[in-house]
Subunit: 221 residues, 2 copies
């Protein structure tokens, strides 16, 4: 009974996610669903990334939080389109929330739409919103055991950004071991090792994102 209800909810979400997907396709828009634990650095990564992209790509952001508009305020300062979703308790974004948020955005003035999901290493991985790909951030402060303990998110993600590498000298934590554990769960991960604080490693990530977004856009654009 409980299981069938959960399946109904997931099926309904899948239908709406596909509708979102079709809209994004018509607009030639690249959509990234960005996920992580609370405080791993999603908004900091976005700030750095938008700053580095400059005028080369027009970015839009949907900010997902249970409460508060702190993240949207941070992103708005960069002069890009941004809309805040407050889930009011829900632990993830779903296709329907994204569809509603799209009304507040001008997709024709956008090359890349980033959906910053609720900080949660579990539930967001279960709900597609119509994205091209999922990216996740793992902070080195979270330790090496996270891929084994939260495998779905690592499996669903195309990109893994290992963040806060500037803190490695002060932690009992091995970057090699994080890498190994992550690849054990998903050997196809595109891996970046970065520090949003110092800027280390961000060049490669920004170059990859630029290239991937450009490859996504229809030839006539």
């Amino acid at each position: 009974m409980k299981i069938s209800v959960v399946r109904d909810i997931l099926d309904a979400n899948e239908r709406i996610a596909r509708e979102n997907r079709r809209l994004f396709d018509r607009k030639g828009l690249m959509v990234m669903n960005l996920m992580s634990s609370p405080g791993a650095g999603k908004t900091s990564l976005l700030e750095r990334t938008i700053d580095a992209l400059g005028a080369e790509l027009r970015v839009g952001v949907i900010e997902g939080d249970i409460q508060s508009s702190k993240d949207a305020e941070r992103i708005a300062r960069l002069g890009v389109q941004v809309v805040q979703i407050n889930t009011g308790g829900a632990c993830h974004l779903d296709g329907n929330m994204i569809r509603d948020a799209l009304d507040a955005l001008d997709l024709d003035q956008m090359d890349l739409l980033v959906v910053e999901n609720v900080g949660n290493l579990v539930c967001p991985a279960e709900f597609r919103v119509g994205e091209d790909f999922k990216a996740m951030i793992l902070s080195v402060t979270e330790g090496e055991d996270k891929p084994a303990k939260y495998p779905l998110m690592f499996r669903e993600s195309k990109v893994l950004l290992i963040n806060k590498i500037d803190l490695l000298p002060y932690l009992d934590c091995s970057l090699e071991e994080i890498r190994e554990e992550a690849f054990r769960v998903n050997p196809d991960l595109v891996l970046f090792e970065v520090s949003c604080r110092t800027g280390e490693g961000l060049d490669r990530w920004v170059a990859w994102l630029k290239e991937t977004t450009r490859a996504r856009r229809p030839a006539l654009d």
Copy 2:
């Protein structure tokens, strides 16, 4: 429709949590539900705490993880009773899972039972398991905005442990601001500032836990 189903699930959980509660009362057992984001240091805190309590309190642990038994293996090394729950995807522990896990524990040989919840700053706060109180850990690496963004967990918790304070010199993060933001959401929080790595601040926490657990036990014990 979706809402009424969610309410049914919460009501059913509440009933089982109350049954667990009655059992714990009969045994004179103190039960703490320990919650945090992934990697904030729940298992490290438990290792340090169990070590410091020594023979003074008999501790038992229920480890909750989506997958893997890494945490239970760490705790088992300390020679205390421990049982691992694998939720197989579910993002929180509920009353029913705890009831099932109790079969593997001898509650008569225990003063304090710690339920280490799934690493998640959202969902675990919604489900009581029969605990006396909830405690949460926030790592300083998660930043000052977490109480405003995840208010329910801060509101539901009696105890807040701010962990990894040894990393403060290397972060753009203010301990005062975390404190302020936390008390804004829940002025009644019992606050401890600790480093499970260096041991700083743990004495006060362990003394509090010892005193609170002893006060809980029936006078005849």
